[in-house]
Amino acid sequence: MDYKLTFKEYSQALKENRLLGLKCRQCTTITVPPRMVCRKCSSPELEIVGLSGQGTIETFTTAFVAAEGREDEVPYTIVMVALDEGPWLMGNLIGIEPEKVGMEIMGRRVKLGHQVFTGDKYSAGEAARPIFSLED
């Protein structure tokens, strides 16, 4: 069975600021990041849909220690966003000083952009990643 929406296709679209997901033909649940089957009912009958990229911050952290090769990026803020279509997506938060991000950020509305992680020797190439910024 062919994989409906591969990482490469997802990443390519995200580089154009298009967030792709999968809609289940059985139960209408939206799945993103993409996988073989619906995250709720396990049906493989999925269609590719464009998502709004809008959602709400569920949780966050500002990292001061990075992995090898990414030391220059700290401090940076990681967020988990509940997209308006339902699924949670991990991304980074920009447009606010990382040191100043606190509990009050939870519940704030965000919109999607992207940056490209160029990859390292372990990562099998580059990857577009979601970058969120506050809506207001």
């Binding site: 569920e58 966050f60 990292a63 090898e68 990026e73 988990m80 991990m90 992680f117 390292d120 372990y122």
Partner: protein, 392 residues
């Protein structure tokens, strides 16, 4: 299924970077376990060993085969397990099942790792390989960051002010450090206060240095035997009476349960059901405190305390020796250390010696009859639980 007993255990000191190879470390722990079991290496019928990052830490893959030869258990089948930090517990569970099924009578299981040898930058990079490499690592996720995300979720879900939660988390670290002071095989021997924790270096908000376990080198080994063989080898068998294992996907896919881990609750239920026991029966638990917040989440997922209340339990001493149950009297990952492929083996080593009444008096849980381990790999991707019971 046949009854299966632990008849011998061994553990190296868990430590900062050192120069013994992964094979050498495991061989030391294995020979201690074999000798304690009144066996010879040639009696071992199969090896099950956790080793996750040998390729990165020392350029060594397929460590399991070399171990068999090194310890003189020539040509036996040997399997290596990668369940990130839960690897040794996966190895032990499979070993248990194959003895229970009647396929083997005597097996060796455990793990070995040189996580400290890698140094913090490479260790941080390789540990992040247990998160989703394509959808989550590009965001810069690290292990402290995973549990930092969960700490903020925990505070909000249970309505705790962050400052109060951080004091609860600090109480967890203070207890673990204190127990580690009396464990000669612990990586860290250091007494810290709540203020020390709260003033330590910020790693990933709200997790500070003393909320984090160290990267450690070390190995642990366990000999499992069928009941019939165990009765001939020892008068103090410790039976494995329950075991569970479960899996989950990337962190974002666990959205409906976080900050709880569904895999833990599935795995623990398997173990409790197999044992015919409840959380209230557990006297002592070595649980996966890779970060202080992880202890709170684990203690609740295992059913020891109500959701959102375990921090208060720690502050009141209910998770300490003499409390409702003793959690991590070894010092836990926080103080004893975290050589990831060996960690579950170290937990079983501690429980078995506690049930035998053999540990240092300052941290011995008097009269303990039933102990449990909890080992978490990745961001909940693999979780194992093992319940052990004194056989005399």
């Amino acid at each position: 299924m046949r009854k299966v007993a632990v008849v011998g255990v061994g553990q190296t000191k868990f430590s900062s970077a050192q120069e013994k190879t992964g094979v050498e470390l495991f061989a030391e722990a294995a020979m201690d376990a074999i000798n304690e079991s009144n066996l010879k290496p040639g009696d071992v019928q199969a090896l099950f060993v956790g080793n996750v990052l040998g390729d990165f830490s020392e350029g060594q893959g397929m460590v399991q085969a070399f171990i068999t030869d090194n310890i003189g258990a020539f040509n036996i089948p040997a399997n290596k397990y990668d369940g990130a930090c839960a690897s040794a517990s996966m190895a032990l569970r499979d070993a248990f099942m194959l003895v229970a099924s009647g396929y083997y009578d005597i097996v060796l299981a455990g793990g070995t790792e040189r996580a400290a040898t890698m140094g913090t930058p490479l260790a941080t990079r390789t540990f992040a390989m247990f998160s989703d490499s394509r959808y989550e690592y590009p965001c810069g996720i690290t292990f402290p960051a995973v549990f930092a995300l969960l700490a903020h979720l925990y505070a909000r879900k249970y309505g705790l002010p962050l400052e109060g939660l951080k004091e609860q988390m600090a109480a967890v670290s203070v207890q673990s450090y204190r127990h580690g002071m009396f464990n000669p095989k612990a990586h860290l021997h250091k007494e810290v206060t709540v203020d020390d924790v709260l003033s330590s270096f910020m790693v990933s908000t709200p997790i500070q240095l003393h909320d984090c376990c160290p990267f450690s080198d070390g190995a642990a080994a366990v000999i499992l035997a069928s009941e019939e063989r165990a009765n001939r080898l020892t008068d103090r068998p410790v039976y494995i009476v329950g075991a569970g294992q479960a899996s989950s996907g990337p962190l974002s896919s666990q959205q409906d349960y976080l900050p709880r881990f569904r895999a833990r609750e599935v795995s623990a239920k398997q173990a409790y059901d197999m044992a015919g026991l409840a959380p209230s029966d557990i006297d002592i638990c070595e649980l996966h405190d890779c970060f202080s917040i992880a202890s709170l989440i684990a203690a609740e997922g295992l059913g020891f305390f109500d959701f959102g209340t375990s921090g208060q339990a720690w502050q009141k001493g209910q998770a300490d020796i003499g409390g409702r149950l003793a959690v991590n009297p070894s010092g836990g990952l926080k103080s004893k250390g975290h050589p990831i492929g060996a960690t579950g083996g170290g937990q079983v080593y501690e429980i078995v010696r506690q049930l035998r009444g053999e540990v240092e008096p300052e941290r011995q849980v008097d009269g303990a009859r039933i102990g449990m381990t909890d080992t978490l790999g990745g961001d909940g991707g693999t979780i194992c639980n093992i319940i052990l019971k004194r056989g005399w």
